[in-house]
């Protein structure tokens, strides 16, 4: 693994599985009497958020604190930082205060890579979501959640059929998941209206379909993506009702799933649009497990990037 986590492409299969294993080991420790580990004592981790996301920020902050790191939250939205050039000034400030790792969330695709490659800063850079490009820790936590439900001896996801449904075009979650889930051996199918699949999709290592009903019964995992209401004003689909009817996980569709299938959503959910309330709360919905695994994955990433050795075991623990 590089000194940064900017894209799932930075990880080999072995490294990705090692992070999942480390997360599971950290989870076991967290369940014990010592909730906090001394591993990153004295290290400084900055949450640099140019875009609001309380959920992701709290997840990273919790992860860092459980490893005893010092955490600085740097919320840049609405301040002078909204103009691009000051990414450099911000980076230089963080360099001056001695940040060991910077967790960056930004509305511009490539911002994390820009920060890492620019030479402005020597800290490890972790991409916590950059525009419509990637969100690698989300994909890792999704993979961990899936693996816990479908364990195998290799610790990967080989043979699983996974659907990712919705606004793939604008989704960093989808891009990171396509890279990671296929890397781990899963067969991924993207389902969306043609307007919400990017031009160039045929070069991705996935299959895709416009027909949710045809695909759903075969799936082991159904991952619903958040759809933003403002997409309607750009003609991506006519109405919320029509979207929901064709591409939402309705109660009727929930009933068509395999009994072993799980339902995922990266949050926050638009109940009634891409997912019905019953589907969101169904017994095979793993949305809350995703949140819990988010903390463990971010602990594992910080632990790995800031010098820890991978913790072993993990893969067979939940057989």
């Amino acid at each position: 693994m590089n000194s940064h986590l900017l894209s799932i492409n930075d990880l080999s299969v072995v490294e990705a599985i090692a992070i999942l294993n480390t997360a599971e080991e950290l989870g076991k420790i967290s369940d014990g009497p010592m909730k906090k580990l001394p591993t990153l004592r004295g290290r400084t981790i900055v949450n640099l958020f140019f875009e609001d996301s309380t959920r992701t920020r709290i997840s990273f902050e919790t992860a860092a604190k459980r490893l005893s790191a010092d955490v600085i939250n740097f919320s840049a939205k609405g301040s002078s930082v909204s103009k691009g050039e000051s990414l450099k000034d911000t980076a230089q400030t963080l360099q001056a205060i001695g940040a060991d790792a910077v967790v960056i969330r930004h509305s511009a695709s490539g911002a994390a890579q820009r920060l890492a490659d620019s030479g402005w800063i020597s800290a490890a850079v972790i991409n916590a979501g950059d525009g419509t490009h990637e969100h690698p820790t989300q994909a890792l936590l999704d993979a961990l959640t899936i693996r816990q439900h479908f364990p195998n001896n290799g610790g990967d996801l080989s043979g699983l059929k996974i659907a990712i449904v919705g606004d793939v075009l604008h989704s960093r979650v989808a891009r990171s998941n396509v890279l990671l889930l296929t890397k781990l051996g899963a067969q991924v199918t993207l389902i969306a209206p043609p307007t919400l699949l990017p031009v160039g999709i045929e070069t991705w290592p996935v299959s895709y379909s416009f027909d949710l009903d045809q695909v759903l019964p075969e799936m082991d995992v159904v991952m619903m993506l958040r759809v933003q209401q403002e997409r309607m004003s750009n003609f991506f689909f006519p109405t919320a009702r029509e979207y929901s009817k064709s591409y939402g996980l309705t109660n009727a569709r929930l009933a068509c799933l395999k009994s072993t299938a799980i339902v995922m959503h990266p949050g926050p959910m638009n109940r009634g649009l891409e997912i019905s309330s019953e589907s969101a709360d169904a017994k095979n919905s793993v949305v809350l497990e995703q949140v819990a695994n988010g903390v463990l994955i971010r602990m594992a990433v910080l632990y790995t990037l800031l010098g820890g050795v991978p913790l072993q075991g993990g893969a067979e623990t939940k057989s």
């Binding site: 691009g84 050039e85 695709s109 820009r114």
Partner: protein, 432 residues
């Protein structure tokens, strides 16, 4: 002042000596033994008619932090150009006789090459109301090329009227072909790379739709149309089709679109951000073929200087544009001549003779013969070098070729008989 060029190779391969007396070529012969103030041994380096650029952003007035007419002229001469065409998207916009005359005079004061202003098609480049095209044509600057470059003249009625109106003074409309609705927020070529990078796509058809429309308009009103920076295989096909029908269309390609592809964008380094964007390998090959067979008439640089802070940021906040004047000839040698796609005569045509003819720059692109104005560029065809952005004569450093090895080096430039580039060094004092 008499200058004698010994052992010069003409574009057709002939070896000659060339004697220049004041502004003119006095003699071209196999061997000249007359005396001269300066004798330069060329050792069979090529002598070309001075290069002519139809698309140059000199930024003055308004963005003198990025470039001035004087620094842009130095950059032009370093790259072998004896004439450049200053684009109209300055602040204020070059949409009146006053502004184009100001730019023209700044060029004369710099004195290193001819600076011919391009006039805006519409007031303030807003696409709504025609600028005073006639007044700019009649001004001291004698404007013949009109362009809203940076923006597309997207309203079909405005475009039609502009094409018609400039016929009375043999003007030409140079279109930046970009359908605005299909490119809202566009950041890079739309295709497999943009799909992975999550950057908003700039589809090829947004360029081709405007080209197709304008070709039909130009045919209908029997006017001259010039298409700026063609970037797509489909655009080349459209122009080829129109030429076969006799439409009075000419087209240009930039050096960067002949060499670079959207693969470079994977770095998210905004030095590769340009409008229209870098396209696919397939497009690059079609552009090269189009330039070789004459479908594309000229190479034009779209030299677009930007200060460091406009590029030292996230991709989507960065400005569009790349430097081009100093590397253009080397890029064309490397991509077109070294590869066997074009001869040196064809290079001289695409970079000097054709652009001079299209724009009506009568003192440029002339035959290298007795009596011609001595606008000449000397090129060492075999010299290779690694591009170093820090050595540029431009005020800006947004050079996408930095670090690349290119072939063909401009060593000397004569502008109306004056040695303005001497052994690779810009000689501004030649005017003293």
């Amino acid at each position: 002042m008499r200058t004698l060029l010994k052992n010069a190779k003409l574009p057709n391969g002939e070896l000659v000596d060339i004697l220049i007396a004041d502004r003119l070529i006095a003699q071209v012969a196999p061997s000249i033994s007359e005396t001269a103030d300066r004798i330069i041994e060329l050792n069979a380096a090529y002598v070309l008619p001075g290069l002519v650029d139809l698309h140059t952003h000199l930024r003055e007035p308004g963005r003198e932090d990025a470039e001035t007419v004087a620094t842009g002229s130095r950059s032009a001469v370093k790259g072998g150009y004896t004439a450049v065409s200053a684009m109209a998207n300055t602040h204020p916009v070059a949409d009146t006789a006053g502004v184009v005359e100001q730019v023209f005079r700044l060029g004369q004061e710099a004195g290193l090459c001819d600076v011919f202003p391009i006039g805006a098609v519409t007031e303030g480049l807003n696409g709504e109301k025609l600028a005073e095209l006639g007044a700019m044509a009649e001004s001291v600057a004698r404007v013949r090329i009109f362009s809203d470059d940076g923006k597309c003249v997207h309203d079909p009625l405005v475009m039609r009227r502009a094409l018609e109106y400039v016929k009375s003074f043999n003007g030409i409309i140079a279109q930046h072909a970009q359908e605005p609705r299909l490119t809202e927020g566009a950041q890079m070529n739309e295709g497999s790379v943009s799909s992975v990078l999550g950057l908003t796509g700039w589809p090829a058809i947004a360029e081709e739709a405007i080209i197709a429309r304008d070709l039909l308009l130009a045919e209908h009103v029997q006017s001259r149309l010039h298409i700026c920076h063609l970037t797509t295989a489909g655009g080349v096909e459209l122009v080829r089709w129109a030429k076969s029908r006799g439409v009075q269309v000419t087209a240009e390609v930039t050096p960067h679109h002949l060499l670079l592809t959207d693969e470079s964008v994977r770095s998210y380094d905004p030095v590769f951000k340009v409008n229209p964007p870098l396209r696919s390998e397939r497009d690059v090959l079609a552009l090269r073929a189009g330039l070789a067979d004459g479908t594309i008439d000229v190479v034009a640089t779209d030299h677009a200087p930007h200060p460091t802070e406009d590029k030292e940021c996230e991709w989507q906040s960065a400005a569009f544009g790349m430097l081009g004047l100093e590397t253009a000839l080397s890029v064309v040698v490397t991509t077109m001549v070294k590869t066997g796609l074009m001869t040196w005569s064809q290079l001289a045509d695409r970079m000097s003779i054709s652009p001079a003819r299209i724009a009506g720059y009568n003192e440029h692109g002339q035959e290298i013969a007795e009596g011609s104005i001595a606008n000449l560029t000397v090129v060492d065809p075999d010299a290779t070098y690694r591009v170093d952005r820090s050595t540029s004569e431009s005020k800006s450093r947004n050079n996408p070729f930095h670090g690349l090895e290119l072939q063909g080096m401009v060593t000397h430039v004569l502008f109306a008989g004056k040695l303005v580039l001497d052994n690779g060094v810009v000689n501004a004092r030649v005017n003293d």
